[in-house]
Amino acid sequence: MIFGSFLLDANESNAFVLGCEETREALLVDVGDADPRIEEFLEQHGLRLTTVFITHDHYDHTGGLDHVLREHDVEVLSGRGAAGGRNARRVRHGDEVRIGQLTGAVLATPGHTPDSVSLAFPGLVFTGDALFAGSVGGTTSSANARQEIEHIRKHIFALPDECEIHPGHGPASTVGVERQHNPFFV
């Protein structure tokens, strides 16, 4: 597994590249900006971008999508079926995302937006703006906040404690750290 993380200018969001060492196919998780470091990383590791996974349709996670679509022949996946004004293939909880020999599972984590999704691979999960280190995504109602907490408990905290969490903003964490110490859960 090849892994790269990028702090972007767009609202200090994160973007991630996950590559299969065997087939050299690669996944991009969120793309808030057209950042040349992402292209450099792909080139440096001999990766071919095949898929873009959008955790939720906010500008700071989709702002670089037009650039990516111009430069690469990729399929865009999102929980909403659209991203950054473009069509995307809609993914739902339980769907598989295959990148070469890597297989990820889509996890429903609504609340920040109604169709926010996370994506879990063995050993790591991308949580977008649903779950951050020591925090959770902002919501517009108490019902949405409850929904977010419930889905994080049910789907993210069911992963092994050592599983890495890579959120849409700020530092990474682990399931164990967030389950035991995140002020929104304990």
Binding site: L7, A133, V177, H181
Partner: protein, 200 residues
């Protein structure tokens, strides 16, 4: 652990499903000679290394390149990590009591659930560091850069933050009893934090 992006193979001990340490055939638990393994480590070649659970107490790791290394659950009591590169390293659950991290680079480092009591971070770069649930009684964070760091639910009783940049630092529900916050710069989030006896 299965598939991972670290420089690690599976532990060769029968029935063990953990990753082997980088540069070894086994995990820390199944390693025959801990001392020889520690002595074999080249501090400049530890970026991205899998070092889960290792005991590096008192080790001299000044200026070490540990960027992106996985040190979860490691014991680093009184380790010398002055000016070490720990960017994006995972130190969750590690024991760093009394360690010296003067001037270290810990940007994006994961220190959630660690014990950093009486550790020295003076002048360290802790921008966007994860300190969720960390314990750091009387730790020295003076003159650090804690921009957008996440010490939610941390227990930093008596810790020294004098002169630190705490712009956007999220101290949500942290225990800052008797902490020293004099000379800090920037607006932090102290929602539900305990500031009893803190000096500001």
């Amino acid at each position: 652990m299965g598939s991972t992006h670290y420089h690690a193979e599976q532990c060769s001990a029968a029935g063990c499903d953990k990753n082997a340490l980088t540069g070894a055939a086994r995990c820390w638990e199944h390693l025959d000679d801990h001392g020889a393994f520690v002595a074999s480590l080249d501090p400049q070649r530890l970026a991205g290394a899998w070092l889960v659970g290792v005991d590096l107490s008192g080790a001299d790791l000044k200026g070490a390149n540990l960027a992106g290394a996985r040190l979860s659950g490691a014991t680093l009591v009184s380790a010398e990590l002055v000016e070490a590169d720990l960017r994006r390293a995972f130190l969750d659950g590690a024991d760093l009591r009394g360690a010296n991290l003067f001037g270290a680079n810990l940007e994006f480092a994961v220190l959630g659930g660690t014990d950093v009591s009486e550790a020295i971070f003076r002048g360290a770069d802790l921008r966007r560091a994860n300190l969720v649930g960390a314990r750091g009684h009387h730790a020295d964070f003076s003159d650090t850069d804690l921009y957008y760091a996440r010490p939610g639910n941390a227990d930093f009783e008596g810790a020294n933050f004098s002169g630190a940049n705490i712009m956007r630092t999220i101290f949500r529900r942290a225990n800052l009893k008797d902490a020293i916050l004099t000379g800090t710069t920037g607006a932090a989030n102290f929602e539900n934090a305990n500031l009893e006896g803190a000096r500001r």
